[in-house]
């Protein structure tokens, strides 16, 4: 049996505990232990960005982070964006600009985009493209995703 650890952290603004295996990824913890399925598995190797979350203000691939390392930290997932007005605007922009097709990459894109805009509110198209470079999308060809993100950035205002 694998070793288990009890950790405590803030998930989407709520303090909580979880018991996780030492080798478990944050992605597996979110999906299988906590039951939040918005964060997606696309590769498990840090290559696709479908599992993007924000930890203490930095966006990262939850498939590459051990669950035990969440201890004491502040974790935000796509579900946590629901209570964020800026994220609402971003979500509406994704919908209105047609940035969603199969939608499998979308939660990761949304996380990356909201983080990007938090860091660079005035991001232009090139900055946005580089900002989502680590997020693969097989359906949209990225253009409408970039348009959606740009439309809520400051340059659009």
């Amino acid at each position: 049996m694998s070793l288990k650890h009890d950790i405590e952290f803030t998930l989407n603004g709520v303090k909580r505990r979880a018991t996780v295996g030492v080798g478990m990824t944050t992605l597996d913890m979110l999906r299988d232990v906590i039951g939040l399925s918005g964060t997606k598995y696309g590769c498990g190797e840090g290559e696709c960005g479908a599992c993007t979350i924000v930890v203490d203000g930095a966006s990262l691939n939850s498939c590459l982070m051990f669950a035990v390392d969440c201890h004491g930290r502040n974790v935000t997932t796509i579900e946590g964006l629901a209570s964020d007005a800026k994220a609402d605007a971003l979500r509406d922009a994704f919908v209105l600009h047609g940035a969603v097709q199969c939608g499998f990459c979308t939660p990761g894109m949304m996380m990356q985009a909201s983080h990007l805009l938090a860091c660079h509110p005035d991001a232009d198209a090139d900055t946005i493209k580089r900002g989502i470079e680590g997020n693969l999308c097989r359906c949209t060809g990225y253009k409408k995703i970039v348009d959606a993100i740009a439309s809520v950035g400051e340059t659009a205002k």
């Binding site: 997606k40 590769c43 209105l96 097709q101 493209k129 060809g141 409408k144």
Partner: protein, 803 residues
Amino acid sequence: MNVAEKTKTIQPDSLIGKRIPKMDAPEKASGKTRYIHDIDLPGQLHGKILRSARVHARIRSIDTSAARALPGVHVVITAADIPDQRPIGVAKDHLPLKRDRVRSQRDEIAAVAAESEEIALQALKLIKVEYEDLPIISDPTEAIKPGAPLIHPEPHGADGSHEHLKQGMPVAYAGKPDNIAMRFDYGHGDVAQGEAESDVVIEDTFKLHYVTHCCMGVSGIIAEFDASGNLLMYSNTQVPFLHKREFAEYLNMDPSRIRIIQPPIGGGFGSKLDIYPFEVICVFLARAAKRPVKMVFSREEEFLASPTRQPVLLTLRSGCRKDGTLTFRQVHTLHDNGAYTSWGATTPFVMMQTFSSLYRVPHCDYHTTAVYTNNPYAGSFRGYGNLQATFAIEAHMDKLAEAIGMDPLDFRLKNAQEKGEVTGQGMSFKSCGFKECLTTAASRSDFRRKHRENIRNRNTPDPVKRGIGIASMLHVGGGAKIYPSDGCGTILKLDDFAHVTLITGASEIGQGSETVLSQLVCEELGLPISAVTVVNNDTDITPWDVGVHASRTTFIAGNSAIGAAKKAKAKILAAAAKKFECPEADLDLRGGFIIKAASGEPLIDLARLMRNLHFTEKAELVMTTFYYEPPSKHQDKGFKGDVSAAYAWATQVVEVEVDTETGIVRMTRVTGAHDVGRVLNRLGIEGQIEGGVVMGQGYALTEDLTIENGVMRNPNFRDYKLVTAPEIPEMDISFIESMDGEGPQGAKGVGEAPAICIAAATANAIYNATGVRIYGLPFTPERVYRALHGKAEKPYWKPWKPE
């Protein structure tokens, strides 16, 4: 509705051609959509498959005892445990669990159902398999040679005889005397005569590579039997009704006891048209465990065990006259089928259409042989062979034009098909915007000027050269009559609040079909898009449909939905006419009201009329059904016939920058003109086209599934490179609205079109930039550098067909 009630008239409004956001987008953008990976059933076990450690080998023995003894393991199965398993696939040559032989790296040997994925994976490691290696054939040109080792040899009886199996058995049991999996031979006219009439004749070999779908959501399935033995599957198939029938056959079950529910899908692109071993194996596990079993691939497994686009070796010989008239075309292709036969083997259906009918060609001769090898097996992938065919054709269009000194655009315009033509293959073009596609894409990209200028600039000292290339495509746009039926059913129901439930057989695979179908229904019933709920994912509820393939859904399911809506409208107007004692023709539906057609004056809220209908003595509900079967024909034995109710056209112009010092090709701009019949949802269609363009860019520049001696070298996103956001070209997309007479509101299918010409146009652009033609894909820096520096070997494959 309150606002409208106060106004005196309701102005006509239409949803067609507008930018309508996808109905499922808010859920998806909130992370709330439950994909198959997100569904867990109570009591569910986790299934995992042990795949072959060898490429081609005899299985000597399999020992599963240690795996069975592992705590948490419920079931371990091998072929020996499933004596009734039957071969699956297009040619019935593929046993889900391999019996005595593995033929490729992906082959399934055993499967486990356990309490957790972790335990299942642990159990796989405990299974011991002894192999005896067999010679590996990974080169299709070797595989066709007489005397080549056989991939599917006739099995020997216990006494060494070949005779113990009956004639007519599936290949998996009966074996084959050679490695030929499938062949196609087509012709019209007389190529010898065509060649004799030619002023210029050229011949080249093209080598097309392996790529794979890379759906962002990996494959998965959940299978469960209820207490009465009924099977429920959660599956991402694109063809639920065909699946149901086939599963019944493979499982020796009554099809009516099988139900398929399709959760939202993380990408399809043709990958989910066939039944794959993992699906059948998961059902076997569920049957044995008497518990629901869920099986989800890892990304590596997705690479290893998914179908691919078919690699093709293609030798094309074409000719024309000095005046620019095409004279003939002769094509021989060799398809690497892989170890088993899936839809990839049948891509010649589509390829031959491009050869015979994209341009007017009086004489055409086409031969394909798909040959078994120990490589991954090829399936159906967006474009279905058309990328490969178009790559070759459009290279020759450029070469022929150059040989006779004609402008490449003029040469194409001279030979382009037009409305009203019936091609040598019997395809009849009732709507055709091909010439307009050519001229629109060319003028919007300033093709002629740039093409000439780039040639002049080839010898300037700047190491970065600019190029522009053009290519066009023809693809079915009104379904494809491949199965006995190419139809789709709709059930439409209006409730007493005038809310519509549209129950359609057509699956949503992310392409936005539910939104387009809703639009079409709203257009008939004068309702806003929010008045519709679509049900499209449960075979126990939805009416029959052939499936999502061949860019057919908008056309076929669209016509079906319109049919059902028209019937509902007729019923509503008849009731209203009675109520208001006026002829039906004086009434119409608009803005959720029954209105006077002439003035737009609202008479009654549709919801109220619905309730009136419901609560009168002769109570009635508005529920209609419609089945649409397109007026296309099956092909005859020689592959001739008008197989689609409409055909889609497109021209794409690609601009590149080639760094001659590094071989790096940057795609800077794509100008596309698409004959889509009519734009229904502008937002949706733009998204389809942009996504297709970038998928085509990957095929042209970055994606390359590397198989060496049967072993996949790059089953991950690090080494298999998908295009990322910073690399995308600028895109300029125009729509040619040829208003197809049979299409729903004039529309034709578009799903596959945008991916088809990109690689072909890129090859022409690289030539335009550098004067060097590259005959193989993808245009990686290494390949381009070698070609530019005279280090590339030009592929040559001697035309060959089995006698």
